[in-house]
């Protein structure tokens, strides 16, 4: 309390410039007068009395100084004067300031850009939800790259009723729905959810309410819907009286009970849901009765941990509960894994975080290396300048400045540079944070990757800037504060330079820059080669000259019979189009995360206990393999003769045959899907439909005429003779001649939509690549700067050498050799560092070893060449100098 009062008064004095100096003067005069009188009374002479009084009082200047310090805030005063000085210095050297600030800005921006993505995805997995750190994704079985929804509704209800470690469990299933009954039907990604969905997430509708418990009750349910903010705005004009009105979804009416908040996009990170309907409405929405079956696993489940419960405790409990359920209903759980695994949302296997949680930290590590390099670069600039300021610092120290004062001066200068760099970085980040969205190609997935500079990014930027400032400021500060004052003051400019070029610190910084840039370049090289390998890998089909287009029949009013007939007409019409070689249909397209799975029974194969029989299942039309140019290893493919009336047939891929019928002839074997038995009539070569970089998995192909489902997208695949884009217009005309009202969407060449399959590889390669190039540039500039500076300092020495008969070539070699030795040291250190660092990337690389010789050698040569060029320019300039001019040089 007393300390606060004192601080406030001092702050007030500081701010108003109030000083008690006049008062002190008067007090001291009076004090001296009183003491002199006392001394006179004691019998001293007047002169002696005055002298003794002054001695007793002590040094007046020191007292005034202390009085002044007590009156105001000396540290704040010093800080301000240091800041003023630093500002003057920055303004005086605009070139130096610009280079340092830009370098730091690039280094910081690399970090804050990646951080803005981390913030938008891993840190904020469900925008709008409360306390997402308590939420866990609940998964059955081991984590895979391609998880399928793990729970049935009855299992979820049993778990929710019994769990004591979770305060609640929610379940959802999302897919496309259609908003019908409006002028133009629109596909909207929506979810069927348990009634507690919004309450458990902590999301409060901006209008109306969330679901009531009875609206999600099993076997009952209510035709109600909570609509997304975007749907409310775009389709209903933000109608404030929307609550209670009926809207049509997949041709059934639903009463709007709520509008979700603007930023809420559902509970799967990175995917945008825009409608929410209670689970029991499955029959109306998608025509199934999935909520009634214990053996149909179609729900993703999230749980909110009770306070004080650990993840391990929750996992143990759920495992016990799930085991109990599996024992009571063995039929339904025999062929699926029942071990529970729990994941926090930042690495939830569902949604985009399942991929990003590996990629982003790695990008962040690369960005950190870049920042370190930028710091080394600016530190070497500052160090060069600090040598030029040796005399100034020596004078300051000589005048009585303390070491901390000198260090403070340097730290403030570098803080100023750091914060300027941080500000510039924020401007850059504002732009680059949106860059992640640029990697997402047009696709059927409702991806939402809205990164921007938010509060967390802002704080991170400030923190990173200050950290960078400390790194760059500390070396020159420590060096300068330890100057041997007298010898520096006696030094001639020339002798400064002679000791200078041997500076180990500066050489160390240059070596560090070369080494760090080699690390980044090696990473860039590895990612680029890995991406190229993935692109060159044989996917098992030919993507070039294939055009895709999608339509959806169910919302347009087609039934199973009319839909199948329509598909036939479409194929006939398209096959006849000029420029089309062949045409087919499928319910998925390769490498765009759209392949479905089904629970299959494979004749003659006994699954391991708890082995998942959820197998990739593709529904394709006639001529699918011919159109995609996928090899047929045996048997035949589907034709127009495979109809709903003929014998159900299937084609399996090689991986399927090898896995389930090893050594046997797959032709003639039978597979049961959804109660229907399909006989295998063909074996296709393996094709990669999910990731180019993962080994092919078993796939079964079923003919569209025999397992027709009008509820899924139908994707047209056209093989064209020329550029597929030229056929797009006639394709659209052909479809609209058959049905003028049927919307055609996602009309894109296959190579474009396939980009989704290499999304993370491309992001990594692009970022590592740009970081690598930036790093090389910075290192080259750093090396150039140091060599140029040291040659300038050695001008006199060079003049003497030349006057004594040294040839231009010898001088050139001398200077070049100095730079080259540094480069070589940097390359060696960098190779060791890179060898250690690339081990972290192993899991992300495809077809390239993390110690790939070709990459290391070629990148090293490239860097060496650039470094030599950076040394060549100043060395040649120095070698051409006139010895007479050089000797007169100060």
């Amino acid at each position: 309390m007393r300390a606060l009062r004192r601080f406030m008064i001092r702050l007030g004095n500081f701010a108003t410039g109030h000083s008690p100096d006049q008062r002190l003067r008067e007090e001291i005069a009076e004090h001296l007068a009183l003491q002199t009188e006392a001394n006179l009374r004691a019998g001293m002479s007047l002169a002696e009395a005055r002298r003794q009084a002054a001695i007793k009082l002590g040094g007046v200047e020191a007292i005034r100084r202390r009085q002044h310090d007590e009156a105001g805030l000396p540290w704040l005063e010093n800080l301000l004067s240091d800041l003023k000085y630093a500002l003057r210095l920055t303004r005086k050297n605009p070139g130096f300031t610009a280079v340092a600030v830009l370098t730091l800005a690039l280094g910081i921006a690399a970090n804050t850009t990646v951080l803005s993505w981390v913030s938008a995805t891993l840190w904020n997995p469900i925008p709008g939800a409360a306390h997402t750190s308590d939420l866990l994704t609940i998964m059955r079985g081991n984590r895979t790259d391609n998880p399928t929804p793990p729970f049935s509704f009855p299992d979820l209800l049993d778990l929710s009723r019994r769990t004591r470690t979770f305060s609640g469990l929610l379940g959802y299933h999302h897919d496309y729905m259609s908003l019908t009954g409006v002028a133009r039907p629109e596909r909207i990604y929506g979810a069927l959810t348990t009634a507690n969905y919004f309450d458990l997430l902590g999301v409060h509708p901006v209008l109306g309410r969330a679901f009531l418990p009875r609206e999600g009750a099993p076997h009952a349910g209510a035709a109600v819907v909570v609509i997304g903010y975007g749907v409310w705005q775009h389709h209903f004009g933000g109608d404030p009286s929307i609550i209670g009105k009926a809207i049509q979804i997949n041709r059934h009416p639903y009463t709007v009970v709520g509008v979700a908040p603007r930023d809420f996009t559902g509970s799967a990170p990175g995917l945008r849901e825009e409608l929410w309907i209670p689970l029991p409405m499955d029959r109306d929405v998608w025509g199934f009765n999935r909520p009634d079956y214990r053996g149909i696993f179609w729900l993703n489940v999230l749980g909110r941990l009770r306070p004080g419960v650990t993840r391990a405790q929750a996992q143990t409990e759920l495992n016990l509960l799930m085991q109990g359920i599996a024992e009571r209903f063995p039929e339904d759980h025999r062929n699926s894994p029942n071990a529970i695994s729990l994941d926090p949302l930042w690495r939830s296997p569902f949604g985009i975080n399942g991929y990003l949680y590996k990629t982003l930290p790695m990008l962040l590590a690369l960005a950190a290396v870049l920042l370190l390099l930028a710091c080394a670069n600016v530190a070497s600039l500052l160090l060069v300048r600090s040598v030029e300021r040796r005399r100034e610092m020596a004078i300051r120290l000589g005048m009585g400045a303390s070491r901390p004062a000198i260090i403070r001066q340097f730290v403030i200068e570098s803080l100023l540079l750091g914060l300027l760099g941080g500000t510039a970085a924020l401007v850059i980040t504002e732009w680059t944070s949106r860059g992640i969205a640029a990697f997402v190609p047009p696709s059927s997935l409702p991806l939402t990757l809205g990164a921007h500079v938010d509060q967390r990014v802002l704080f991170a930027t400030i923190a990173v800037s200050i950290l960078a400032a400390i790194i760059i400021g500390i070396l020159p500060a420590l060096r300068s504060s330890r100057l041997p004052v007298q010898s520096v003051l006696k030094e001639e400019a020339a002798s400064v330079s002679l000791t200078w070029h041997k500076s180990r610190l500066l050489s160390g910084l240059v070596v560090a820059q070369i080494a760090l840039s080699l690390v980044l370049l090696v990473c860039a090289g590895l990612f680029t080669r890995s991406l190229r390998k993935a692109r060159q890998a044989d996917p098992g089909f030919e993507a070039d000259h294939v055009l895709l287009a999608s339509y959806e029949l169910s919302p347009a009013g087609y039934t199973r019979a009319t839909g199948a007939a329509f598909d036939r007409q479409v194929l006939d019409r398209l096959a006849a189009l000029p420029g089309v070689e062949s045409a087919t249909l499928a319910d998925f397209s390769p490498l765009s995360f759209s392949l479905h799975t089904d629970y299959l029974q494979v004749q003659g194969y006994v699954p391991q206990p708890h082995e998942s029989m959820e197998i990739s299942r593709a529904i394709v039309g006639p001529n699918y393999f011919r159109t995609l140019r996928t090899a047929l290893m045996a048997g035949r493919e589907f034709t127009a003769a495979d109809t709903a009336e003929s014998q159900p047939v299937a084609v399996v891929n090689q991986a399927f045959a090898d896995r389930y019928w090893p050594g046997a002839n797959p032709l003639g074997q039978q597979v049961t899907d959804g109660g229907e038995r399909f006989t295998v009539v063909g074996v296709a070569g393996n094709a990669r439909y999910r990731f180019l970089t993962l080994p092919p998995e078993p796939v079964i192909y079923l003919p569209d005429a025999q397992s027709y489902s009008p509820t899924h997208d139908t994707i047209i695949h056209l093989r064209t003779t020329g550029d597929p884009r030229t056929v797009a217009a006639s394709l659209e005309i052909a479809i609209h001649q058959l049905n003028p009202d049927l919307p055609l969407f996602n009309v894109n060449p296959l190579p474009v939509t396939m980009q989704l399959g290499t999304l993370f590889g491309r992001a990594a390669a692009t970022f590592a690549g740009s970081f690598g190039l930036l790093a090389m540039l910075l290192a080259a500039v750093g090396l150039y700067g140091v060599v140029a500076y040291s040659t300038r300092q050695r001008t006199r020495e060079i003049g003497i050498r030349m006057a004594l008969g040294a040839r231009k070539g010898a001088v050139y070699r001398l200077l070049l050799g100095q730079g080259f030795r540094l480069t070589l040291a940097g390359l060696v250190v960098g190779a060791v560092l890179a060898g250690a660092f690339t081990r972290l990337l192993k899991a992300q690389l495809y077809g390239v070893s993390d110690t790939d010789m070709l990459t290391f050698v070629s990148v090293g040569l490239l860097l060496a060449a650039v470094a030599l060029l950076a040394c060549h320019i100043p060395a040649r300039r120095a070698a051409r100098v006139d010895p007479m001019v050089a000797l007169r040089h100060q």
Binding site: R6, E27, I63
Partner: protein, 115 residues
């Protein structure tokens, strides 16, 4: 060495407060002389250090000051104890007495007392 001066400057503040309590409002020289009389040579030189200390105590609200007339009718700054200062003095007196008692006991203890 540094610690010793810290202790002394702490005790100096206490001496100032006590002086003002006993003698009522005083100017700087009066306080200095009084302390010198009681504490001997502690403040014999550098009486001037008293003034920054007085300013600090004033900032903390323990004392207040105003201009007045000295004995020979010249202008002088007079310091007096405030209510807060009186309370502070009481608290610190108790603390010092307690510390002094403990240290005194500690110094008088003999080896045989501890077994």
């Amino acid at each position: 060495m540094k610690q010793k001066t810290d202790v002394l400057s702490g005790t100096l503040a206490l001496m100032v407060l006590k002086t003002l309590e006993v003698m009522g409002p005083q100017h700087g020289w009066g306080i200095a002389r009084r302390i010198e009389q009681i504490s001997g040579d502690l403040l014999a030189v550098n009486q001037g250090t008293l003034y920054p200390l007085l300013l600090k105590l004033e900032h903390e609200g323990s004392i207040a000051s105003e201009w007045g007339a000295s004995d020979n009718n010249r202008r002088a700054r007079f310091y007096r104890l405030t209510a807060a200062g009186r309370k502070q003095l009481q608290a610190e007196t108790r603390y010092w007495e307690l510390s002094a008692a403990i240290i005194a006991r500690f110094f008088t203890v003999k080896a045989e007392d501890l077994t």
